[in-house]
């Protein structure tokens, strides 16, 4: 069993850690970095709740090892809202459109939508809508989620 020194940036803050090779990024973010907004649902890449941004791309953090994030910039849902509590546009859209019920799946959906609707790097509306297939909402509140996504993506998808 090997251990490794890693250095990464989490929500704008540099962080050093010593991790076991087998530690997943999701468990590292929750247990070591205190980012409990990273929700771990299925732990094997099906549900999408643990989605975070690694170097700006949405990825499932349970399908990556912490050691593989060495040198990367990681953003979790904690890193989106402004210091004064003003919600990120994706969070605001989900709130306005009733895009959450129990909220367990929400952080993952927020991160996918944030990665694809950033003002400087906006994906085509159909790509944004299709990316929602990577998330499962067990409350089945998909209509509100889709309304919020459509609003953010622009265009009629």
């Amino acid at each position: 069993m090997s251990t490794h020194q890693i250095q990464l940036t989490i929500n704008g803050r540099p962080q050093h850690a010593t991790v076991e090779g087998r530690l997943t990024l999701s468990d590292f973010l929750r247990g070591d970095a205190g980012c409990t907004g990273v929700h771990v649902g299925c732990e094997h890449g099906v549900c999408g709740a643990c989605t975070v941004m690694v170097d700006g791309n949405a990825v499932r953090s349970c399908l990556m090892l912490a050691v593989q994030a060495d040198g990367c910039t990681v953003t979790t849902v904690e890193g989106l809202a402004a210091e004064d509590g003003t919600l990120h546009p994706v969070q605001q859209a989900l709130r306005d459109e009733h895009g959450l019920q129990c909220g367990f799946c929400t952080p993952g959906i927020v991160m996918t939508l944030a990665s694809l609707t950033a003002a400087d790097n906006k994906a085509a509306p159909d790509k944004v809508m299709n990316a929602l297939s990577g998330h499962i909402c067990r409350c089945t509140g998909y209509q509100g989620i889709r309304r919020a996504a459509r609003k953010l993506a622009g265009g009629a998808a």
Partner: protein
Amino acid sequence: MKPAPFDYYAPATIEEACQLLSDAGGGATLVAGGQTLMPLLALRMSQPFVLVDLNGIKALKGISRQAGRTRIGPITRQNEAIADATLNAAQPLIVTAVKHVGHHQTRNRGTIGGSIALGEPAAELPATAVALGASVEVRSTRGTRQIKADELYFGPYATALEPDEMITAIDVPEWPSGTVSVFREIAQRPGDFALVGLTGAVTIDNGRITRAGIAWFGMGPTPIKARQAESALIGQEIAALDAKAIAELAIADTAPFDDLHATAEYRRTVGRRVFTRALSEALDLRAAA
């Protein structure tokens, strides 16, 4: 639901990776994108002693063209491949197929070579590699060899790769101008594995088919080359082509099974229809389906 302990290595060169595989004597597993391996580790269906991470090996990345062939570095990520101008120009069928692999979030990590090396029978890329006549370059400390894609797959997740070997490139012939793509996937939801999948290319010259490469996925224990249909298509005049009859030949080569999601009979019925429609659309035939 947590991986069992292993020693993790991140070599910087192919030689180092091959040495690690050799030293582990079959106890090592390679990880590229990890989008299939990580679940297997979490479920402890896979418990390697050594995990060799390929992500730091620059020589395994990137896409280039040379002498009528496209060379794809195996750790090229699926979303990178979709956005790659070279691949879009040279291998439109591969780009179409990659868009159907998993979800946007898994394509940000998942790689072309990882999918081809895994050999999931219902996956898009192994079948597309078979259809296009691709081959893989494989290295170990014992040397380098080429394996044709249609000789790579023995059964579900069973391939001709030895435990000490790794794929170092995917080599895909470029089909001539006048080639059209045929691609269809029937799945319960986008991102799910195919219940029925069809992928291939057909070259047309002066109203006649000169080349055909077609394979099924989700229709048997491996990707399945539709050999009888390919033979029937080559030389065929498009105006006189009977797509339904060729679909029968294509189905004759499949070996689907019953599972939770669909029966073998369903797969054959849908496969016939999908084949007829896809071929007719690709060749612009009327009223065949």
